[in-house]
Symmetry: C2
Subunit: 297 residues, 2 copies
């Protein structure tokens, strides 16, 4: 990771951590416990990959980080709600996330279900309440967000994932599942950032950005599977080796660790080619992609 | 219930049951099981009170049922998702709803969590995808829906409700909880219907409609508590006397059955007065209000 990228991403995370709580005011909300559980889930030291992608895509196309900030908060609300529900006992049953007790452990199951529900609503509300976005842009952003989140995106991916436990998936099926579960929201992040900068985004640029984002989503997941095998629980901040132990198909179980590393390298070639076709290889999106593919947690 | 209202509401429910599945196409969705669980939860023989209110408010203000139909489907998706999550073991732990196994019993807990999640997203998507609504109207409807659903509305009400088990609430606190848990979505139904008919809704009419809807939401809840005490499980289609048994505060536990009936009568006076002030006492909203206050299940 270049020094300038590190400075940028650290500064962004700090700004982001200041902004997020403004959507959960300390007075005026009817349930203090619900608010606490939502805040706890949002402010958990995440890498903020999706917000970083959104802001970087906006800047790459001539917009500003300031313009992108509200949408970045919205996408993190969706991501955060999905983690809270994913960690529930009936789902992945995880007690630990990023080194801290998961929401249903820190609070209780019912509160975690409700916090996830309200975080999803909040994502939509944030975009609807942002004065900088006109009605057309709000609708455009919400459509991208909704499409990526629901029955055609992330939640569908989680449903397919649930049905895949103990089932032998081939590489194509595994990729299709992750394209929904992780890829859709990563694609939405990039496209939302691009739309904020360019409401009339050129269809070719849009296509290349979607190719970039889809490949990056795949790279993200392969790297995740490699990290899961190579790290111990202390480094990982969540239960290491959990996917393998729970008989979930992963890139490393399917291709071996070396095979997965090779696949990651191939995928990163596609990432950078698509970015070059969009004319954005020199932008921060390139550095961010490298960070995603090389991260160790 | 007048014969003409019965004919209208039966015909509406039939039309509504035809329309809802169009948002969950049988091909093209990645997870058939998720789709089934969503459909199962939506098509469960509900009374469709919120959609009826939305359509009736739209018609009362000069709009058509056809214009209102998409928003009516959206509001039912929100209501339906809330029931699915409410019935979960970590929440109210209900096995039966309207005489049928609840979603997590018919499917499994993880699928029920995801189906609820995706139904919430679908509500927002339906409004975003309706060509009849322009961008300004979409945003207006979505704002009303989001405000009523999230941390300032329904989910907050459920969180407050959870914290009230075994706690002695006074009438004011009970009313505040239900205003969030049930009232907010009923208010949104009325207002969304009104906005579809009149994008430039007169502020006085809006105020009276909100008063009408808030009082009706209260009447709805009082009637619910009376039904819970007076019915057996077979008639009710869900576990009778459950709230009292689980030590949840209700209007009947607080005021006695007769006291609750008196409170209901008083509340219905406010309902009809507010409707008269809005100049809509002659509309179907009046009949619908009477139906809500007199229903037996």
């Amino acid at each position: 990771m270049s020094e300038s990228f590190k400075v940028f991403s650290d500064a962004f995370r700090e700004q982001f951590a200041d902004r997020l709580p403004s959507y959960l005011p300390s007075s005026g909300l009817p349930s203090a416990r619900l608010r606490e559980a939502m805040l706890y889930s949002l402010m958990n030291g995440g890498k903020r990959v999706r917000p970083l992608l959104l802001v970087s895509a906006c800047e790459a196309l001539g917009g500003t980080a300031k313009q992108a900030m509200a949408a970045a908060c919205a996408i993190e609300c969706i991501h955060s709600y999905s983690l809270v529900h994913d960690d529930l006992p009936a789902m992945d049953d995880d007690d630990l996330r990023r080194g801290k007790p998961t929401c249903h452990i820190a609070f209780d199951e019912a509160t975690a279900i409700l916090a996830g529900d309200a975080l999803q609503t909040l994502a939509f509300e944030i975009i609807l309440d942002t004065p900088d976005y006109d009605a057309d842009l709000r609708c455009r952003l919400l459509k991208e967000l909704g499409r990526a989140s629901g029955q055609r995106g992330m939640v569908a991916g989680q449903a397919v994932d649930l049905q895949s436990v103990g089932v032998e998936l081939d590489e194509e099926a595994l990729q299709a599942m992750h394209a929904l579960k992780t890829g859709a929201l990563i694609e939405a992040s990039v496209l939302m950032g691009a739309c904020i900068a360019c409401p009339d985004l050129n269809p070719d640029t849009e296509m290349h950005l979607r190719q970039f984002a889809r490949a990056l989503g795949l790279a993200f997941q392969i790297r995740d599977d490699i990290i899961d095998v190579e790290s111990d629980t202390a480094t990982l901040g969540k239960t290491a080796g959990k996917d393998a132990a729970s008989d979930k198909p992963t890139y490393t179980s399917l291709l071996g660790v070396n095979g997965a590393k090779h696949k990651l390298k191939e995928t990163m070639t596609i990432v950078h080619e698509a970015l070059a076709k969009a004319g954005l290889e020199g932008s921060r999106l390139a550095e961010l992609a490298t960070f995603v593919a090389q991260r160790t947690h």
